[in-house]
């Protein structure tokens, strides 16, 4: 909570209020309302449908014990989220904090905890040769951060450290190097071409590619012979496809009413019974029950039982009418 609040405040300060929250993924009945598609949104939706169990939240499930909050090692790890943002998480052991407290004494309490983000594109970083860097002040409780680098196509390294009042920076831990991808086509247009060695050897043996003819021949003749599916190919228009007709916003309240009819009874267990002319099977005790969806209108339901020896026969015919007003 605290971290969230701080992050929020910070992003306000920095004036970089890029929406980072995941947009509500489309769920039920969304199609007509979505206007623009975010890259990969459909893939996300379809993939999500694989794990579809809408009410699963009601299930009480045992949760295992918690994972350790600390692993006892100073470290900071950076990962790329997209061309602009990187994520860092870190752990500083209480021992390290104690040690630095002892060294800095009073100054420790005046120092700010800071993430120093270095742009180290195309160089071997030695700690003081970065193209530039910027600092993000963080709270003591924070253990991870999303950083807007505003710099696609660059390499980054992040230090977690203390910024002393006089401006001196003490590194506690240094991250791995990450590279944010460029967000458009490359400006570099030099071309390099390659034929893998083993392929080249094969081609060479066949007289430089002439041996493998283009795939014309048998397969095509066979296809022509079998004009199986020709004709089905309709007009190329995509007109019918999901034309999202704009429907005025309807209110959400709704009601559904259905009716079903249960027909049940009993006879001798070895009797033969039919309902509306169709044989049904009896339970071992001679009872039966049938369930029908009941549409509007009149249903005549003759139930006929015949004794096992064929001597006796009884028919009872309920008549049911459903009318909806």
């Amino acid at each position: 909570m605290v971290i969230k609040r701080i992050k929020k405040r910070l992003s306000k300060i920095m004036g970089r209020r890029k929406a980072r929250k995941i947009a509500q993924l489309p769920r039920k009945k969304a199609p007509s309302k979505i206007k623009e598609e975010v890259l990969g949104m459909q893939e996300t939706k379809v993939e999500g449908a694989k794990y579809s169990h809408p009410s699963i939240m009601h299930l009480k499930r045992m949760m295992p014990e918690e994972l350790p909050t600390q692993y006892g090692k100073d470290k900071i790890v950076a990962q790329v989220r997209d061309p602009w943002w990187i994520h860092v998480y870190w752990e500083i052991t209480p021992q390290t904090i104690e040690k630095i407290k002892n060294e800095l004494k009073e100054k420790f309490y005046q120092a700010k905890r800071v993430l120093r983000v270095y742009d180290i594109s195309h160089i071997i970083f030695t700690g003081d040769n970065a193209h530039r860097f910027f600092d993000i002040q963080i709270n003591e409780q924070a253990n991870n951060w999303y950083i807007d680098t505003a710099g696609p196509g660059r390499s980054w390294c992040v230090d977690l450290g203390l910024l002393l009042p006089e401006g001196k920076f003490i590194t506690l831990v240094r991250s791995n190097t990450v590279y944010t991808p460029i967000e458009g086509p490359s400006w570099i247009t030099d071309e390099e071409w390659m034929i893998p060695e083993e392929m080249f050897a094969r081609l060479y043996g066949m007289g430089f590619g002439l041996g493998r003819s283009s795939p014309v021949g048998k397969a095509w003749q066979e296809r022509v012979r079998r004009a199986l599916f020709s004709g089905v190919l309709a007009s190329p228009g995509i007109a019918s496809m999901a034309s999202p007709v704009k429907i005025p916003q309807v209110r959400k309240f709704w009601l559904v009413v259905n009716t079903e009819l249960i027909v049940y009874g009993a006879t001798e267990p070895d009797a033969k019974v039919s309902v509306q002319g169709k044989d049904i099977s009896l339970r071992p005790d001679g009872t039966f029950s049938l369930r029908f969806a009941l549409p509007d209108g009149k249903q005549v339901i003759p139930v006929q039982a015949k004794s096992a020896d064929g001597q006796d026969q009884i028919t009872i015919t309920p008549i049911v009418t459903r009318e909806t007003k």
């Binding site: 980072r20 995941i22 993924l25 009945k29 199609p31 007509s32 890259l39 990969g40 459909q42 893939e43 996300t44 379809v46 449908a49 694989k50 794990y51 169990h53 809408p54 939240m57 949760m63 295992p64 994972l67 350790p68 990962q79 790329v80 989220r81 997209d82 998480y89 253990n143 991870n144 791995n176 590279y179 991808p181 490359s186 400006w187 071309e191 390099e192 071409w193 390659m194 034929i195 392929m199 283009s214 014309v216 296809r223 004009a227 199986l228 599916f229 089905v232 190919l233 309709a234 190329p236 019918s240 999901a242 999202p244 429907i247 709704w254 259905n258 079903e260 369930r291 029908f292 969806a293």
Partner: protein, 526 residues
């Protein structure tokens, strides 16, 4: 005249969900639904194509987790139980809808399909992997591998040993199942960062796929865009970029085919629609309504008002859409051919589960599409990546860009507020696993079992599915639980191995629960 190629790729994946400790486990339904609605319809489709001597090509990934589940005796037994339940329900539905002709024939359709599914399942002696293996051996589909547990590789950049383990375990498992090495790989979630390709090269993989911007934003600029593969600089592994136009037509429920009003509505299932007491035996034992797979309505329109599904209309639409897709590819290829002075390749990858499970008519559409392409025209030729590379070995060399096919195209789906906490644990576990692999080089007996199980637990914790589910924000409890459970098991194994206090009873128990990759060798994690 042939002017280009179409490379259709189906990516099939489900995370490893197997809970022998529970009689009835909700999440296992993911597998059963996919079997009935996707894998079996696809197998039926490929069988029909083979019977009709259609010379088709399709590339398909089967992830190691999915293969493990399809091969698992317990899950096979449970699937049979599941399909028998469905058959029973369909029988009751046939009876219940007797006075509703608009639903009655649908109930009969489902009954027929469920029987068909069961008989196919039994015909392959319950192991559907055999079916796919046969199609590969017949030369029609090329099966590729994926990460062992579908770990999202760009967020393992700091743990290269884990990337290596994800890939090596997957390749070894592929060889066990298919009796040869895989030629290509489906990087989980199309997640690529420069450098992954080097590890692919180490194990002899020849190609992989990225989303369009992975190639388009590569350096230097790719001369032919996504319409020719590129070789990765330094590794020489080929990389095929996804074509966005053809993707959108199938993926999008807004302006793609699956949103057509005649197609079956995914969200209206009798598990939710019917009277509670009646449907109760067929939903979750705790009484929670779930999808049964019996759905009677078509999409109808953009509102909640739905009309009954008419299979005939849907079938006609599928044929029309297949024709439309082919026509668009022809135009695209003709245009590109003139422009490039070279035959373009259109790479169109889809989630396999999109076909049948999400888009019920998907397999029918694919059937029409393949036949039309093979018999009705000669501009497009279906091809697999390895065939393409055999015929077109000279390609440009670039460094593709970090990318995925997930939300927003990079890592954010798996790295956001809801799931970023997992990485501090996963990365430490990776470090620890490497430490174990280095400290224990030659082992046997109990110690070896513990080390192998530690790697299993780590791999299972790394499945991208958990972070994905947390990211979507719905039913996250299971995903959180799985992440924690595997990490906790790993941590305990790590401590016990180091202290030489391995609890054999407990080890046997988790070996039984997480029984994936029987042949795993922990030493690959280096």
């Amino acid at each position: 005249m042939q002017k280009g190629y179409l490379c259709l790729v189906l990516h099939s994946h489900l995370p490893f969900v197997r809970h022998p400790e529970h009689e009835d486990f909700l999440e296992e339904d993911w597998l059963y639904e996919a079997i009935t609605e996707t894998y079996i319809p696809l197998i039926l489709l490929f069988e029909r194509l083979l019977n009709d001597k259609v010379d088709f090509r399709l590339t398909m990934s089967l992830t190691p987790t999915l293969i493990s589940m399809l091969e698992d005796f317990l899950l096979q037994e449970r699937y049979l139980k599941h399909i028998n339940k469905l058959i029973e329900l369909a029988h009751r539905e046939v009876e219940r809808t007797r006075w509703q002709p608009e639903f009655h024939h649908l109930a009969n359709m489902y009954l027929g399909r469920f029987y068909e599914a069961r008989s196919l399942f039994e015909r392959y002696k319950r192991n559907l992997v055999t079916a796919f293996k046969n199609f590969q051996e017949a030369g029609k589909i090329e099966i590729i591998t994926s990460g062992a547990t579908h770990g999202y590789l760009p967020l393992m950049e700091v743990s290269p040993a884990s990337i290596r383990a994800q890939i090596k375990v997957a390749v070894a498992d592929y060889e066990r199942v298919f009796g040869r090495k895989p030629k290509g790989i489906w990087l989980p979630e199309c997640g690529y960062f420069p450098g992954v390709d080097k590890i692919l090269k180490e194990v002899g993989l020849k190609y992989f796929f990225v989303d369009a911007h992975g190639v388009l934003h590569g350096t230097p600029r790719p001369k032919y865009g996504v319409f020719a593969p590129v070789y990765c600089k330094n590794s020489g592994v080929a990389c095929f970029g996804r074509d966005l136009e053809s993707s959108k037509q199938v993926w999008s429920s807004i302006d793609g085919y699956p949103g057509d009003y005649n197609y079956r509505e995914f969200y209206r299932d009798i598990g939710f629609d019917l009277e509670y007491e009646y449907i109760k035996p067929y939903i979750h034992p705790d009484g929670i309504r779930i999808n049964t797979g019996i759905k009677y309505y078509r999409i109808t329109g953009p509102t909640d008002f739905k009309e009954p599904y008419v299979p005939q209309w849907a079938q006609e639409k599928a044929a029309e859409h297949a024709g439309n897709f082919m026509f668009n590819r022809q135009k695209q290829i003709e245009y590109l051919f003139d422009f490039m002075q070279k035959k373009p390749i259109i790479t169109s990858p889809y989630d396999a589960e999109l076909f049948g499970h999400w888009w019920y008519e998907g397999p029918t559409w694919l059937d029409y599409l393949i036949r039309k392409i093979v018999f009705d025209q000669d501009i497009i030729r279906l091809i697999t990546p390895s065939e393409y590379l055999d015929e077109n070995p000279r390609n440009q060399v670039i460094t593709p860009s970090l990318s995925s096919w997930g939300w927003k195209g990079y890592n954010e789906m798996w790295l956001q507020g809801a799931n970023d906490w997992i990485y501090r644990h996963l990365h430490v576990a990776s470090e620890r696993m490497t430490e174990l692999a280095q400290n224990f080089k030659n082992t046997d007996g109990l110690l070896r079992r513990a080390l192998n199980q530690a790697l299993r637990e780590l791999l299972l914790a790394q499945s991208s599915d958990w972070a994905f589910i947390m990211g979507t924000g719905t039913h996250t409890a299971y995903a959180i639980r799985r992440t924690k459970e595997h990490l906790l098991r790993f941590n305990r194994l790590y401590e016990e191995i180091k202290a030489n206090t391995i609890d054999e009873v407990w080890l046997s128990e988790i070996e039984y629960k997480d029984n994936i990759f029987a042949q795993i060798d922990y030493r690959v994690h280096q």
